[in-house]
């Protein structure tokens, strides 16, 4: 009798312990589930499935329409170009900035000011400041004292609406170089202090120990940050809205314009465009998780 109830008690406790992590994960899982639900519903709408309008047939029509748009190629090309250029600049600049902070053994205050402040700043405000500085009537063109140069600058310096999008790239660079640096600097300082020293002890030059020891170990973190920046800049709307040209528009802007169409059926079309955006971002997500797994394996071996 006693043995039976002891076993029963043990079984109950084992079950409680087994279920505990699921209960703990519930709130975050709920939030993530809402997010996934929203994205999935959106993607399905792109395939023509909108139960609220009685549309239940799976179709590729809207995607075909989206891809057939005359400005589609220009739009996705522009989005990819902006995203690729800004993330590449962010990666190179960020790693370089992290190296600089590590090499000069920057104090906390310096790290805060150079990294945290840009990270805290809203993208829209950076766009505003870039306009203040580089627009036709901006500070930079005013600084060029020579009137001839000034008038040339006024016409050449059109950061708002310039098709090359260099103003947009400038905003992303301002924001994302510190972000990549932030993600990398902690590891770099740690590695540089411990393993870097070891490499120096064994006779390696600072350059050699940086490239063959420090950089590879920081690579996963840097790649993760790069992927986040790429995905963000690809799907971002605000900066392009503020500084982008009338043509070509990026994919998210296109999608939002169609989304605002009063005809609800047009929503499927908008979501097809969004679906393409999501697809590109999902690819970058895959790269992120591979980098994360590499990092975890590294952490395991570094112990």
């Amino acid at each position: 009798m006693r043995a039976a109830s002891a076993e029963e008690g043990l079984r109950r406790r084992r079950r409680a312990v087994r279920l505990a992590p699921y209960a703990l994960a519930l709130p975050a899982a709920a939030l993530a589930a809402v997010f996934v639900y929203g994205v999935v519903v959106g993607v399905l709408q792109g395939f023509g499935i909108m139960p609220s309008l009685g549309m239940n047939a799976f179709t590729f029509d809207y995607y075909a329409q989206a891809l057939a748009r005359p400005d589609f190629t220009a739009s996705i090309g522009y989005s990819l170009y902006l995203s690729a250029v800004s993330s590449a600049i962010a990666l190179a600049g960020g790693v370089l900035l992290a190296w600089a902070l590590t090499t000069m053994r920057a104090r906390t205050a310096v790290r805060m000011a150079s990294l945290q402040v840009p990270i805290l700043t809203m993208h829209a405000l950076v766009a505003l400041a870039v306009a203040f500085l580089f627009s036709g009537s901006g500070l930079v063109s005013r600084l060029l004292a020579d009137p001839a140069a000034q008038s040339a600058a006024q016409s050449a310096f059109s950061v708002v609406g310039d098709p090359s999008g260099w103003g947009i790239v400038a905003v992303y660079a301002w924001k994302e170089i510190p972000y990549v640096a932030f993600c990398t600097v902690t590891i770099m300082m740690h590695v540089s202090g411990t393993l870097g020293e070891a490499a120096a002890m064994s006779g390696a030059s600072p350059a050699r120990s940086f490239f063959s020891v420090t950089l590879p170990l920081c690579a996963p973190a840097a790649v993760q940050a790069f992927v986040v920046v790429a995905a963000f800049s690809f799907g971002s709307y605000e900066v392009v809205y503020l500084l982008g040209p009338t043509y070509p528009k990026t994919l998210p802007v296109l999608a939002y314009m169609e989304f605002q169409d009063p005809d609800l059926v047009n929503r499927c079309y908008a979501m097809a465009l969004n679906g393409i955006t999501t697809g590109v971002c999902a690819l970058t997500a895959a790269v992120y998780f591979i980098a994360a797994r590499v990092q975890r394996r590294q952490e395991g071996s570094r112990g």
Partner: protein, 289 residues
């Protein structure tokens, strides 16, 4: 409180860490779980404490099965290898923590905490911050804190491993004397054979998840039931103690040493594997057993 372990099995990640282990710790006894690292000793203690759930088997306190009870309802307290003092509280608040958990009023808590600190020879440390303490002091606070919980059993998980040799002896004596003062059933995990020998009333030797031998320290020393038990008492260390009226004693280890003169003596393992007691000064006579 009598502690009974009955056929405990623990499997983690496909590996059987503890396989059908069982023994009894009588009321008020000081028991040691001895064995090499990785043998499953700490896991066993975790099962007794309620931190880990066993896959089968039963833990009984005074005959009552406690398997359904979570750790905080079992009435046991534990001292860990790394002290685990709460860094955001003062020393006094740390010791008073279990009293607070039981709803004791503030003034009474502080008074009792001060008492326990005095008992571990840290009188007046109540207002110090945890970060200021040395390793030995931290362990003493941990000990005071565990005892302030008025536990039915005290569990110690290799409490002296983190301390240097000189401190360890003083700490062992402290623990032993507290045990004698309070009479609380104590279960200690250690990999140091001499430590187990000297401090315990009963020793359970755990090897690869199973029980190799259990009994009084003398029995393990003189009549090892398995080669692993015999080997663990080997090594160059000699145990110092005293001989009185033909019996060698050190701590709670007592064994007959006929023919050895009274006074300081050492216990050594001979090359042949047997145990001998030699008097330290002059004497000359020794007994081999």
């Amino acid at each position: 409180m009598k502690i009974e372990l009955d056929d405990i099995r623990v499997v983690r990640g496909g590996r059987t860490i503890i396989d059908g282990l069982g023994f009894t710790v009588p009321e008020g006894a000081f028991a040691s779980i001895l064995g090499p690292s990785g043998a499953g000793k700490s896991t066993l203690l975790g099962v007794v404490a309620g931190l880990l759930v066993q896959d089968s088997g039963s833990v009984r306190f005074d005959g009552q099965a406690v398997d359904a009870l979570p750790a905080h309802k079992r009435g046991v307290a534990m001292v860990f290898q790394d002290a685990r003092l709460f860094p955001h509280m003062s020393v006094g608040d740390n010791v008073a923590f279990p009293l607070k958990a039981r709803g004791v009023a503030k003034a009474a808590r502080r008074a009792e905490a001060a008492e326990w600190l005095a008992r571990v020879q840290l009188a007046g440390f109540a207002d110090r911050r945890v970060q200021e303490l040395s390793g030995g002091q931290k362990q003493r606070v941990a000990l005071a804190r565990a005892l302030a919980a008025h536990p039915r059993a005290l569990l110690l998980d290799e409490p002296f491993s983190g301390l240097d040799e000189a401190l360890r002896d003083a700490m062992r004596q402290l623990v032993r004397s507290l045990h004698e003062q309070t009479g609380v059933t104590t279960l200690m995990v250690t990999h140091d054979a001499m430590e187990a020998l000297v401090m315990s009333d009963t020793v359970a030797y755990v090897h690869e998840g199973g029980l190799a031998q259990v009994g009084a320290p003398v029995d393990l020393l003189l009549h090892p039931a398995a080669p692993c038990v015999a080997e663990s008492f080997g090594g160059a260390r000699a145990l110092e103690g005293t001989v009185r009226a033909g019996a060698f004693s050190r701590g709670s280890l007592q064994m007959p040493a006929p023919g050895v003169a009274d006074g300081p003596a050492v216990l050594v393992r001979t090359a042949a594997g047997s145990v001998a007691v030699h008097a330290v000064e002059g004497g000359g006579a020794h007994a081999a057993l």
